[in-house]
Amino acid sequence: MIEILFFLFAAVAVGSAFGVVLGRSPVASLLFMVSTLASVAGIYILLEAHFLAAIQVMVYAGAIMVLFLFVIMLLNLGHDYQQDMKGWGASVVVLAVTGSMAGILASRFSGAAELEFLAEANTAAMDAALVEKGAVGVIAEPLFTTYVVPFEITGILLLVAIVGALALAKRRVA
């Protein structure tokens, strides 16, 4: 059952990823992207990362994609169907390079049977932690103890991003 669901989500994710790349209008690309993000969230659930799946749907597929949509609407790019791909020659070369990159990575990963073995050994401990602390607590506990300094720095980063975005947006064009 889990295997079937995994391959369903994986097929939707890869298909929508190609939709993002090949979509003619930015809005179509963006909606394909939402579909990819939602399927990856499904795979997170299958990998027992429930909190990250929720964050993925709310923050990524919700907030960030709506931000993109706002910008597309604001710039009025929705019905601008001009072709912006590179030429066929360049596209084929890039496809060959990235395809072989994916092939090499995929063959390395699928040959790593010891990873499955290690994961099997670790599953019981992770399941116990999930039951004991809950899906949020299992992330929150290291986040607020071991990683509390990076967490606070993340707050500063977001503040800087907000200020920077405002400063850039309010600047008058010379």
């Binding site: 790349v21 990235t98 994916a102 992770m126 993340t154």
Partner: protein, 97 residues
């Protein structure tokens, strides 16, 4: 399951790279960068099955940085659009040799 997830993340990353290199529309290039980030997140979640919860904490940080990056990047695209009236990156060749 774990290795399949890693293979999927490799495929998604390659598709994102292909998009960044082939498309000339700045917004779609940006979406493809998000796709690459997401592929890396998937790999981190998969590896967190092997080496404990730290990988998932790292994904949390990556998502925050991605949100900040999206905000600033989109504002840069808006200011470029104000200046050039287009988001096709072939039009921005000031720094190109």
């Amino acid at each position: 399951m774990l290795t399949q997830a890693l293979v999927l993340s490799a495929i998604l990353f390659a598709v994102g790279t292909f998009g960044v290199l082939v498309r000339r529309n700045a917004i779609i290039m940006f979406l493809c960068i998000e796709l690459q980030l997401n592929a890396v997140n998937l790999a981190l979640v998969a590896f967190s099955r092997v080496s404990g919860i730290d990988g998932q904490v790292f994904v949390f940080f990556v998502m925050t940085v991605a949100a900040a990056e999206a905000a600033v990047g989109l504002v840069i695209i808006i200011s470029i659009f104000r200046h050039y009236e287009t988001v096709n990156v072939n039009s921005f060749n000031l720094l190109k040799w």
